[in-house]
Amino acid sequence: MNIILMRRSVRTYQERKIEPEKIELLLKAAMQAPSAGNQQESEFLVVQDRDTLIQLSRMSPYAGPIAKAPLAIILLGNTDRMKFSENWEQDLGAAAENILLEAVNQNLGAVWLGVHPLADRISAVRALFSLPENLKPFAVIAAGYPKDENANHFIERWNQERVHYEKI
């Protein structure tokens, strides 16, 4: 599917806001992701306030794009809903990937900025939002209309050496 092949990490955006309907579609896509035993433990913190975005961009040396993005979605795992807690990273990762794909589909650009399992980033996000104990920050996705219109474009990543038939 083209959308999967054209997804790129997009880090520079136009100032233009993202329409609320599009933000809702990103969140809807995330919630369609599979989760272990259908536990649906992900929660989403939608940030559009400029000051908050700037503060969030300081969570790591790689989080700079957040400062100028019109939108950041913070993915959180709610431990109260984790029946199979060992699978929470897999569940949240699938939700994150759905957001990135839906962003391409909406002509947006986005980038996945890791939080978990890095302790300093986890504490930075926790502190900024005074997160309750039961909410584990997993990742931040920054998104916006790309500055470069062709930001999402095909790059071949197929590598035959990564495929094994029947056995390794």
Binding site: A29, P34, L45, T52, Q90, E97, E102, P132, R162
Partner: protein, 166 residues
């Protein structure tokens, strides 16, 4: 995007074969996922042999593998992970989701069976596929044409969304 909304966990398949081309497209989608620092630490084992499919069933919850036309085992190479495996599980789950979405786009059915971090499941897959020590199996994805067509189910829940502050 329809493929995201139509994706369901499909555990029952018809006998119709899945073409090599379709399986290739699924692997291509997997390899197009983002990874930490673009390390692409994954390896994929494509299983189509009926005997191996049957023996890949990890426990009573993963029976669908034996009735599938194929399975893709998504693995991570621990030697390519700066955090000794802590990042691989996240990178590989993005690859898994791409494969599931690509399958839904084609009308194919699959289901996300996690292997690692369940040690017993991972050990079973390691044994059946003779995986080297540095290769960790994260998921077994059975692939087949669904017995019933895929249908969208709305999972949107505003209670899970918070704005600007918690």
């Amino acid at each position: 995007m329809n493929a995201i909304f139509n994706r369901r966990s499909i555990r029952k398949y018809t006998d119709r074969p899945v073409s090599r081309e379709d399986l290739h497209d699924l692997l291509h989608a997997g390899m197009s996922a983002p990874t930490a620092n673009n390390t692409r630490p994954w390896q994929f084992v494509l299983v189509t042999d009926r005997t191996i499919l049957a023996s890949l069933v990890m426990d009573k919850y993963t029976q669908a593998v034996k009735d599938a036309q194929a399975a893709i085992v998504v693995c991570g190479d621990i030697n390519k992970d700066m955090m000794k495996g802590a990042l691989n599980i996240i990178d590989c789950t993005a690859a898994v989701e791409n494969i599931l979405i690509e399958a839904a786009d084609k009308g194919l059915g699959s289901v996300y069976y996690a292997a690692y971090p369940m040690e017993d499941r991972a050990a079973h897959v390691r044994k059946i596929l003779s995986l080297p020590e540095n290769i960790i199996p994260y998921a077994v994805l059975p692939i087949g044409w669904p017995e019933k067509p895929l249908e969208a189910a709305d999972r949107y829940d505003t209670a899970m969304v918070h704005e600007n502050r918690w």
